[in-house]
Symmetry: C2
């Protein structure tokens, strides 16, 4: 199973949009795809018209079962979406309390990794959406994945944020003695603005081996898609932004040979 964590501590860079668009494309191509929402704010869960404030079965139950040392089948928490082949392990707003409750207690960083191992035969891809912050949820997402996708807005401040993020990631990986490959994905690229073009060039210069050769353009169809509740690749299959994600998917698959 290919497990991709989509992450960036900067907010609003297109993490949730990347997860739902890539997931929709993969499901339409006949793959069995699991989307995992680790964001206490629950944008991915809301996208599929579920309410993270009022949900009985969510990823939060996995953490509770770990603390209570009671085994739990992760399959029992998963919901099907209206899109065939696309399932969702939803978030609950209760996830916001995890850092204060469990902090870095032993084993809390591996809750998701252990659960996804049990689902290996059910899905060919798992895409993990993360909140824009460091903490036990981010540690779980990093421990569970076998490739990291980092959407970065093509603007000056975003580049500064990326430097810090990669510095933090290398420290987390050093302490867990794993090395994970990553792809930086330039998003919301607007060729009308100098700031966008300059930052794209800077990204390619600073991270030549890890930055995707193309970019996801600014496309208003993504906002329209989110009010439809259907993945952008199904809502507007010929939109420029969706076509860019199709090209990204090919590059990610080529970069990560069979897992």
């Amino acid at each position: 199973m290919k497990i991709w964590t989509i992450t960036n501590q900067k907010g609003g860079v297109g993490k949730t949009t990347s997860v739902v668009t890539l997931g929709g494309i993969l499901a339409s191509a006949g793959e069995r795809v699991l989307l995992v929402d680790l964001d206490p704010h629950g944008s991915l869960t809301s996208y599929f018209r579920l309410d993270p404030d009022d949900i009985d079965k969510s990823v939060y139950n996995l953490f509770q079962s770990m603390v209570a040392k009671k085994p739990l089948d992760p399959q029992s928490l998963i919901q099907a979406t209206k899109t065939p082949g696309l399932d969702l392990l939803p978030a609950s707003t209760a996830l916001a309390t995890l850092d204060r409750q469990v902090g870095v207690k032993d084993g809390m960083g591996l809750v998701l990794a252990t659960s996804l191992k049990k689902l290996e035969s059910e899905y060919s891809y798992a895409l993990i959406d993360t909140p824009p912050m460091l903490g036990v949820l981010m540690v779980n997402a990093l421990a569970a994945c076998n490739h990291l996708v980092i959407p970065v807005q093509t603007e000056f401040l975003a580049l500064k944020g990326l430097e810090r993020m990669l510095h933090t990631l290398s420290m987390i990986f050093k302490s867990t003695k794993r090395e994970i490959d990553y792809t930086v994905v330039p998003t919301m690229f607007d060729q009308r603005t100098k700031a966008s073009k300059d930052s794209l060039r800077a990204l390619r210069e600073q991270y030549p081996d890890n930055t995707w050769k193309s970019a996801i353009p600014v496309d208003t169809r993504f906002r329209d898609a989110s009010s439809s509740g259907v993945p952008p690749s199904i809502f507007a299959p010929s939109a420029r932004g969706v076509e860019a994600y199709e090209a990204l998917l090919q590059a990610l698959d080529a970069r990560q040979k069979a897992e």
Copy 2:
């Protein structure tokens, strides 16, 4: 002193952009303005070319001095920016560890409120930038302010997020027995997309007494400004987005009589 907290748990909605633009306009009008960066990711601090990863004096020191019960003069942590009348109390990435370290220990929710009280005679406005998450930093920002500004992107998912956010805020205010007035500010309004227009109408219907009568338009000049390191109101004073923030400032001042 008017103390405005700019907050939204959703990422990338224009919190930092609102703080730096409103701050620039107020400073140019001759006010004494303090910007406070409570975001561990430090976008506001990076905006002014400081490095939140490598900073000795930041808002983090205020929390440390509380835990160590050693008094500290907040003025000693403040830096002047190149814009006359605009000072910054910067963030440090160490803030990301606060939730795990201190959680809700007694008094940790009032660290910022107590510090800003000591600065009352120095500044006429304090604008507080917050991270896109719930936790001890958000609690501090809510306890310190006398008005709340909530930027909300004009798109479907953002409206869902706002409902949850206001629900959470009312619970926090109930437990602290204070009632704070708030203004919802529609941002990144794009009159070309139906999703944007529909969400703006929905916002006005759902929160008629708290939604600002106008909206901040999509404006690419904000990205250009952030690569200049100078507030948008000084970098591009006649940009549409900046003029909208000038109108917002008048509305906020009118809504909150002298404090």
